[in-house]
Amino acid sequence: MRKIFSKVMSKRAVTKIQAIVIILVVAVAAVGSYWYYLSTLPSPVEYKKTLVIAIPEESEGLDIQQVSWANEPLELIFQSYMAFNSTMGIVPDLAVDAKIEGNSVIIYLPGDAKFSNGDPITAQVMQDAIERYRVLSPYGSDYDAVIGYQIINNSTLKIITNVPPMYIWLNDVPTIYGVVVNVKVAKQVGDAAFNENPIGCGPYKVKEWVHGSHITLVRNDLYKTNLPFVQNKGPNTYIDEITIRFISEDLTRISELEAGRVDIVRGVPSDAVSRLRTNPNVVLYENIVPGVQAIRLNCFKAPLNDSRVRQALMYAVNRAEINTTLEGTVLPTYLYMSPTMLAYNASLEQYASNKYAYSVEKAKSLLQEAGWVDIDGDGVAEKDGKELTLDMLVPNDAPKLKKIGPLLQAKFAAIGVKVNIKEFSYSYIRTRERAWDFDMACMFYSWHDPAGILPYLLHTSIANRTYSNLEVDKLFDKDWSTALDPVERTKLYTQIQLILLNDSPWIPLFTDKDYTAVSKNVKGLLVMPPYGTMYIQDTKVVKGG
């Protein structure tokens, strides 16, 4: 009985299988032909509603008032009162207007200004935010000149200072460091939580932060701006979400763009620039960094305490070679300031490059003047029996400086100076600098206003005790305490740099150029000086292909 049953069963099973197979084949054929039909229809422009940006470093935190450096997520979460346009003029952003009046800054906000969570932005809130910044931020001293506030009306704040407020006007009002934050929420949830999920009034707000991986932002539908150089002054309805991924490996970051998995890459390494320039699917944006990369010298430590030795080092560096090595992605410089900084003097560059043009002979003769000669012919100069050996601290987390380290070493060897490279993290190098414990240290800075950075590196009293020139101090003090017009300011910083060029406390190498690589599917992106800030108000991302 069982045998017959199983035989019958198996026959039915066979037919069943055959039937299933036929049905499947027909289904696949039907679906396939329908799909083919669809693909032949012309497709309307489809927009991808999410934008993916890849950046090299994860943010320390998301509360601008607690961090020491800002990057893309913060630029999207917060909105500054004013902003820089392409000619470094100051134009309105959140504020309707702002101006300097004697010893005060007045900021006028629109009456309906709101945070992303709906809380109103009032003059009181603006004042509270500044006070919070003074306490929490590493740069709180920005507002040291503030002696009081006056709330003119609900949306207008007057900040009163004891000196003309040029510093605040140039370093805080138009930058991300001077933004207003929702202090009420910060008090409620605590600073630590606010650092994970802050409330600002920028075009996007925080959805989630997956540490080590990415930050997802969603559109702030209450966003409004007064920027003259964007067309859409409200929320960007074409982009619902922005994902910012942290990919520190250069190769990985670029490969993700080439594989089509990210739309924008920031911090394009010098090796990839030429390749991406010829890639038809990629648009490359170049931004000249408002800053200089240089070797800092310890002017109080022998043998560098002799200015002739320092000047010799200036002559020994072949900056053109540096530019070649870095694939043309930098601007060689002899100055202490960059072209995109305020008060920059272009003709000074000409003067300095003439004065310190690459010359091994001049370098050697200066060393000789200072008593350093290579007597025993081993390639290293000596004086009183001691060899001219120096340690150079090179940051292993600053790719361009790290790359040219051996090149600099070779150039110094050519004039008889033996340089040992010691690679460390940049923060450690800064520690050694502060402790006087270095000979040569590679450094860089990035800030648009010289008053906001140079005194911290060169003024005797404040920053470090590795260089001191009272004349320079006086000039810095003058800039801080008086209201100079741009022409006078440029003259002042020219004066300062002439002294510095003589003293040579640094060996300026180059001004960096920052590159952003954008997929051709991204339309309407604005990349603005001085920091290459991205403005996405008019951006749309086209789908596919």
Partner: protein
């Protein structure tokens, strides 16, 4: 006693090189471990005669010739600063072997005495040494090395110390196991009986008998040491520029992998070949000298 007895028998078996089974072993591994031996010798020669083999000094910069693909004048091409990659790789062999040897020597110098003491004395000392050895053995070496290097700073010496500290335990374990199997043999008991000092016993009898196992282990540890050094250099904690450690060259070349793949490929190949040859040689040695050896 039963356990010891069984182990004794096993070791007797392994140390007899005569016999059909072992002959076949020799024959089969002859090919691969012999190849390993040849390559090891080759790399050693390259390392010793590096200044004569390398056409240029490893730090010689020539920016106008940068990123050249391999050619007759530059066998492995040039890197981003115009340095000859072939010369750098050849000098890199010096560093790799030198560092590898020193690391192994330090590890052996720490591990073997500890192993002998642990195996000989048993009891509490054995427990402490074994526990320490087990703990360090299972702790991730990368993390430990990173920690040591961060405290001591970067540089070849520090890297050597860091790596040596992470794998000395292999020598301890192997030595201890071997000593435990020898400790109750007649010649040891006899030496004890006539009042020979512990130290003398350990030095004159135990040490030579653990030599063969440790030789195998040394051959197998060297490639691991080289891989670890290059890993640390890759992460940026190793040698200082312009020293041409293979890992450092690889790290520099990684970013140019698409436009100048030769910079990263050749040191990579050399690392693999060197490590592979030592591993093959070590495998052969193990089958020859002590097949029961567990790394």
């Amino acid at each position: 006693m039963n356990v010891e007895g069984k182990k004794e028998v096993e070791s007797e078996n392994s140390s007899r090189l005569i016999g059909v089974k072992n002959f076949f072993l020799l024959l089969i591994h002859y090919r691969t471990s012999f190849a390993g031996l040849i390559i090891v010798v080759g790399i050693t020669i390259i390392a010793i005669f590096a200044p004569f083999i390398a056409p240029k000094h490893y730090a010689e910069i020539d920016v106008s010739n940068r990123l050249q693909p391999p050619s007759l004048s530059h066998l492995f091409g040039t890197d981003a600063l115009g340095r000859d990659v072939f010369s750098r790789v050849v000098y890199g062999a010096q560093i790799a072997l030198w560092v590898g040897m020193i690391v192994v020597l330090i590890e052996a110098a720490i591990g073997i005495p500890l192993g002998i003491i642990a195996g000989y004395y048993n009891g509490k000392i054995d427990k402490i040494i074994s526990a320490l050895s087990d703990l360090v053995w299972s702790f991730p070496p990368v993390v430990l090395a990173l920690g040591v290097v961060t405290v001591l700073g970067a540089g070849i010496t520090q890297v050597v110390i860091a790596i040596a500290l992470t794998s000395w335990c292999a020598f301890t374990r192997v030595t201890r196991a071997k000593v435990q199997s020898l400790v109750n043999r007649e010649f040891i008991l006899a030496a004890r009986a006539i009042g020979e000092s512990d130290f003398s016993i350990m030095f004159r009898y135990l040490l030579p008998n653990v030599a063969s196992s440790n030789l195998v282990l040394a051959t197998l540890t060297l490639p691991a040491a080289i891989l670890s050094t290059t890993a640390l250099s890759f992460l940026g904690f190793g040698v200082q520029p312009p020293t041409p450690d293979w890992g450092a060259i690889l790290s520099e070349g990684a970013n140019q992998l698409v436009i100048a793949p030769w910079i990263a490929t050749f040191p990579g190949i050399f690392i693999v070949i060197t490590a592979l040859s030592f591993n093959l040689l070590g495998d052969g040695l193990r089958d020859l000298l002590d097949p029961k050896l567990k790394i």
